[in-house]
Structures are given as C-alpha cells and as structure tokens.
Symmetry: C2
Subunit: 277 residues, 2 copies
C-alpha cells in the first residue's frame, strides 16, 4: 500500500472533513486510508484545526472513545455574517423587485446557491451547539433555505405541504389562519417524514405576522416535536406578531410604491444576544 | 503580514477551492492571501490537483491570462456512481414505500442531504464539459435535486410553479397534459427567473411517460432556452414516452401490491454511452 506524504494527506483530509460537515470520521479510518500511525493523523488534524480556527470558518471536534473520531463543525464569524446581511439588504433594496400589490420578488435570491450556502452557514452556526434532528420548512420558497441549512448541519429535511398529496402517504393536516391576510390555509406533513419527539429547526424565507410559522409550530406539536429555533431570511413589520422567538437576517421596513423606494435594514440577529467568535 | 507555511496553505486552498465548485479564483488572490510567490502557489496547486485526481473526485482547471485563475471541477468516478445507484435502488426496493394506489414514498430520499449531494455530483459530472446557465425544475420534489446539482455547477436555479403566484411577478404559463393520467396541468415560470437563450439542465425526481418534463421543455421554449440535458432520479416504464433524451439513476420496473414487492433496476445512465474517468 502506498504511503501518503503529509502534504497529500492534508489535502485529502481537509476535503473529506469539509465536504460532510458534522459527520464523525473515526481516526482509524484515516490511519488505514493513509497507511500512517494515528499519532501522525493527530498531528495532521492539529494543523487543519489550526488553519480553520484562524480563518474563523469552523473547528474540528474530537470525540474520544471507541465510537469516537473527528468531525468538522462549520462556523461563520460575526464579520462575515454582517457581510452576508449587508449583501442581502442591498439586493432587497433594488426597486426592480417591487411587484404589483407591493409584493417583493425574491426568487433570484432564493435561486443563488452561493448566497444560500452562506445563509445556511449562518443558521447552522447559531444552532451548532444544539442537537437538531431535522430542518423543517413549508413549500415552496423555504425549501432551498432548508436544504442549505440541513447540508451544514448534516440533518434531514421535512417539507410541510400546502395541500395533501397522494405521494406522501398518511399525513397530519391542520388549518392555519394567515396573520396578515386572515386567509385559512392548510398545512400537512407526512407522518413518516418526522419521528415523534424530534428536535427541529424551522426555516422560512419571509415572515410578516408569522401566521405561516405559527401554523408550522402548531403542526409540529402534533408530532410532539420540539422547536429549537425559527430562522427567517426576511421579516417585515406587523401590527401583531404570532411568533416572538425567531432570528431574521433582513427587515423590509417599508415599500413606497409611488417613489419605488424600499427601506431595508438588518434583521434582529445581532439584537438577539447571539454570540459570534 | 504573516507568511503561511505550505501545510497551512494546502489546507486553506483546498477548503476555498472545494467549497465553491466552478468558481474561478485568480492566482494573485492566493499569492496575496499567503504572502507567497506565485511559483509556490503553482506548486501547491499541483499537489492539490494530484491528490484530487488520484482520488477521482475532481480536477483543478487553470485558466490562463489576465482574467485567469484556477477552479475546482468536481467529478465522480464510475465506481462511486454505481455505488450511489445501488444505494438508491436498495432504498427504493423497501416495501414500506408502497402507498395506497401503488405510489411510492420518496420524501425520505429527497430529504437526505448526503444522498442528494452525491446525486448532484453525478449530474454535475455528466455535464461538466457543457456551459450550463441554470438548473430548472418543477415544484416541489425536484427542488432539492435541482439545488444539489446547481451547487456543484455553481449556477442559479429556476423553479417552475404549478400555479402562478402573485410573488413571482410577470410569468409565462402553459398548459401541459400529463402523459400517464391525461390530466391537464399548468406550468408557469417567472419571466425574470431565466434569461432568454439560457442553456439549461432540467432536473426532476420521477418520470413515467415524461409529461412533466415535456411540459418543462415546452415552457422553456418560450424563453428560447436550450435544453442541454434532462436528469431524472427515478423512472418507471411507460407505453409511450414523450421524452427520449434523458438520463436516469434508477428504474422502478414493477410494484406488486399483493406481494408488496418492488422490482428496481439501474436507470439508463450507463447505457447512454456516458464516459467516466
């Protein structure tokens, strides 16, 4: 068997660790793969851990014992988070987004895999210390955000549907009232898509009064799920909030249809007492 | 400014290149970041390129000239592709998937970010040699697959909706007839979500007669888009096919509701003359 040089090992290990965040890789797997003593592997891991830490992009977490190993926990620092929030705000302020009726076009933002990855990283960083069993969203626009977050947390995604489809099997359904438009909407989630008692992170693209999130929380209660956090990309002011505990990245304060000006500011993330590195 | 050691540079460069596939990074950016001569950077890149190539996970592509740089093109080899197809087939053959009416439950597979990443890698590998401007799918189940693929290709995603929503602005709509059920369905795509003349990759979770894909192709024609390829995760036999040119990873040949047996085989990928490393 070919013995690997340290330089080659560092490249390969970095790749394996980074490609699947939160996945535990036993030290023995590396030792065998590279035909090297575990002590050399430990030194390699120290180097990788050091570089990742210095760059503020994450840490290597070592789990001791027979079932142990090492895993990459991605992190994003405050500065980069602020950069992403600023970029999001700048893009939201573009008057070309204004649609008839005062709606905002968001699909380009939600179609950009690079920005989505950054947002997923921010949310995964906020909840890196919690055990999350699944990321939950409601179709359609929340789905890319949910996947971006789940990829960083290495958890499955469960998607709440607005109708109940024959391809979902047995579903649990509730009717929820939209907070702003007072319309009744149906939310359903396949029974088998979420284990009872799961610890979940709710993710969505937009929140006004919070009726959609409230509906998700109520539906998740039927699964005895514990909602660990609620992450919304954009919020907009509402007279009455149906959800109090959430984090947002941007706030659309006002859309002036006449002057075509959109007033955008940072979401509540930094006011929530969230600690960054 | 701190001078980086080669070992630290290799870790950091591997991370930067792998995290954003297909993104061109100028050599000068690296030289500046590490306070090192471009010749050293070239040596580093040779090491990284060598390791990635030996492991069959991709190549570093160098673009010469003033606007040049280096980018990571992910690749997956035939062996690993076969492994993913086998895993998919095994999971599809689980009789617990059978739903009333002979439908198959797929949401757990489409909720698994690790498997999705592998599928995205396979499809990105197939079309790595083509310029792809956007990955297109139809809501809801195709969305995670589209993002997994777009992430590897570094392209935006455009999502065709089954209704037309006020939050999409001006849309192009067509009516399509489902190939198997003969139902008429509406497909709509926001005008601004796809530039005229884009080269697109169509991605979907399931195809029988191909009515959905046909509908997507017809709608994309309204955008003068060029369909470079059609990728479906699972296909199922149909008397008449409305789409001939596609690649699939698995075929559900038969579902026997009485014996609860699902006959699954490989999709057409390897019979399409696709060349792997």
């Amino acid at each position: 068997m070919k013995k690997w040089r340290r330089s080659a090992r560092l490249v390969d290990m970095t790749r394996l660790l980074i490609q699947e965040p939160h996945k535990l890789i036993p030290l023995g797997t590396f030792a065998e793969r590279y035909g090297t003593a575990k002590s050399s592997i430990s030194e390699d891991l120290d180097i990788i851990h050091g570089v990742l830490g210095e760059q503020g992009v994450g840490v290597l977490e070592t789990v001791a014992g027979a079932a142990g190993g090492v895993r990459f926990i991605p992190r994003v620092g405050r500065e980069r988070t602020e950069g992403v929030m600023r970029e999001l705000c700048d893009r939201l302020a573009d008057p070309d987004r204004i649609l008839p009726g005062g709606y905002l076009y968001l699909s380009d933002i939600l179609g950009d895999p690079v920005l989505l990855r950054e947002i997923g990283l921010i949310w995964a960083t906020l909840f890196a210390g919690e055990r999350i069993d699944a990321v939950v969203t409601v179709e359609t626009k929340g789905i890319p955000l949910a996947y971006a977050t789940a990829t960083q947390l290495n958890t499955p995604v469960a998607i709440i549907r607005r109708d109940s489809r024959v391809t979902e099997g047995s579903v649990v359904t509730i009717n929820a009232v939209s907070g702003s438009s007072r319309l009744i909407r149906t939310f359903s989630l396949a029974r088998r898509s979420l284990k009872e008692g799961s610890r979940v992170l709710i993710v969505d693209d937009f929140m006004k009064a919070g009726g959609t999130v409230r509906g998700m929380v109520d539906l998740l209660a039927e699964f005895r799920a514990e909602v660990i956090g609620v992450c919304v990309m954009v919020e907009s002011p509402a007279r009455e909030r149906l959800v109090e505990d959430y984090v947002s990245l941007a706030t659309v304060d006002n859309i002036d249809l006449k002057s075509r000006k959109i007033a955008v500011s940072f979401g509540n993330l930094f006011t929530k007492g969230v600690e960054f590195q």
